[in-house]
């Protein structure tokens, strides 16, 4: 009897539709977010994450409506991220039915925002998303830095130090994405996952690179993540959440079946 490791399908939402890109270029339409959310809930997803990749503010209102609709039908935790800049953005999403919000770029440009948000809404609903790239040469001790703007903009911030700092500011969870791996289907960057999972006291969600069910297992057993996030392997029907959980259970991981 112990806490289950979580599987979190991620829905990238653009203008009210779920899309999935490769290395941040949106290519395939994966469908209606409410319908997809219901399907994942039925398959036993432990949580859902919605990332708003819409550029314009008009369309952001669309995501709020999506969250509202999903929250009325799906009774598992919902995390929403993408473009969250101030406490009004957070309040709007929590009122729509989100349980947690994921702060990314705004944490880098204004770290105090994380502290304000955690004080106002509680750490339990503040996820800090960090996008990392490996900067150390092959064969040397791993070093990863924080990148923003879909992995295009270097910040010079050390990823492990940054994760620690965000937790000290009140982040209740870290959503860790390897930009080197995102969309490649070659597996998580287990080095950075483990480095951060061991450095912080709060749960870490591994993200970026899942192409097989064994990648999910590796994220937990080798990366020491508390939860694993994936998008495309679920969206296009390659695998169901149930299959993923069965594989994890076979590998000796505690899951909710």
């Amino acid at each position: 009897m112990s806490l289950a490791k979580r599987i979190i399908p991620c829905l990238d939402v653009d203008n009210g539709r779920v899309v999935k890109g490769v290395k941040f270029v949106a290519i395939r339409d994966a469908g209606d977010p409410v319908e997809i959310a219901r399907r994942y809930d039925e398959q036993g997803a432990d949580e859902l994450t919605f990332l708003d990749i819409t550029a314009s503010s008009d369309n952001r209102q669309t995501l709020v409506q999506v969250v509202e609709q999903v929250a009325g039908q799906v009774f598992i935790p919902l995390t929403v991220g993408g473009g969250i800049r101030n406490t009004d953005d957070i309040r709007r999403l929590l009122n729509a039915g989100a349980d947690k919000v994921s702060i990314n770029t705004a944490a880098v440009s204004n770290p105090d925002f994380v502290q304000q948000a955690a004080e106002k809404f509680g750490s339990q609903c503040i996820v800090v998303a960090i996008d990392t790239k490996k900067v150390s040469p092959a064969g040397q001790a791993g070093r990863w830095e924080i990148f923003t703007h879909g992995g295009r903009k270097a910040t010079g911030l050390d990823a492990v130090e940054w994760a620690r700092r965000m937790v000290s500011f009140g982040a209740g969870e870290i959503l860790l994405t390897s930009m080197d791996r995102d969309g490649t289907k070659s597996g998580f960057d287990l080095g950075v996952t483990r480095a951060i999972a061991e450095a912080v006291s709060v749960p870490v969600i591994a993200s970026g690179g899942v192409g097989t069910l064994d990648h999910l297992v590796e994220g937990i057993l080798q990366g020491h993540a508390d939860a694993v996030l994936a998008a495309s392997i679920f969206h296009f029907g390659e695998f169901t959440i149930e299959q993923a959980k069965q594989r994890m259970q076979q590998a000796g991981i505690e899951v909710r079946l």
């Binding site: 112990s2 979580r6 009774f75 929590l94 009122n95 509680g122 339990q124 969870e173």
Partner: protein
């Protein structure tokens, strides 16, 4: 028509509680409110809560929620307390350098600690305790009806309840240490987990709550 008051004292997201109650297949009128008159007349009362206990207790006292909750407990109205709502019912919490609670249930709220580790494998456990954990139904109660023993519920908390007496404990969970996941006494049922985020098992618990007359 069952009239339910979900007590709103400005802390956290009450919409998901209201939505889960609305999902039950019985006719309900749900009001999210801190109006004493509405709470007093409700058939069922829910005391939710998220966030830090000092802020919660501050608002509870400012709005007189302490008095109205004591009143509905006295008059026998079925009361469901959720997460920090449960912690608020206790005598004392260690959080925020120590905060007095409503003292409606005997027991204290303690920190999981920074050095929690798993039984057996010694794995360091993260705090908050976040995710789906199993709840053992250690007492028979109408709110457990139709819920498979040891079902998983969704938790997110860094502090846990230690009840003075095991007689109060209706559900037990283990995260490094055993703790009370559900307490029950007379017309009070209080849970540490979030039934509104616990899918089928949680929705069943809300349905059971709506069908409960407050007696055990």
């Amino acid at each position: 028509m069952i009239h339910v008051a979900v007590i709103d004292y400005g802390m956290g997201n009450l919409h998901s509680v209201a939505k889960a109650l609305q999902h039950a297949p019985v006719a309900t009128r749900i009001e999210v409110t801190h109006d004493h008159r509405v709470i007093r007349q409700a058939d069922h009362v829910v005391l939710p809560g998220v966030g830090a206990i000092r802020d919660c207790m501050g608002e509870i006292r400012r709005l007189g929620i302490d008095k109205i909750v004591a009143e509905v407990v006295d008059q026998g109205t079925p009361l469901l307390a959720v997460c920090v709502g449960l912690q608020a019912l206790m005598r004392f919490s260690e959080e925020n350098q120590g905060v007095a609670g409503l003292n409606l249930l005997p027991g204290d709220v303690k920190f999981f600690g920074a050095t929690l580790s798993g039984a057996g494998n010694g794995e360091r456990l993260k705090v908050p305790h976040m995710g789906w954990n199993q709840v053992a139904q250690v007492a028979d109660h109408p709110l457990w009806r139709g819920i498979v023993p040891n079902s998983r519920f969704y938790f997110v908390h860094s502090y846990y309840v230690q009840a003075d007496s095991p007689d109060l404990v209706a559900g037990r969970c283990v995260y490094g240490i055993p703790f009370a996941a559900a307490l029950a006494r007379a017309n009070i049922f209080a849970v540490q987990f979030h039934p509104e985020k616990s899918q089928r098992a949680g929705l069943t618990l809300y349905e059971n709550f709506l069908a409960w007359d407050g007696r055990v």
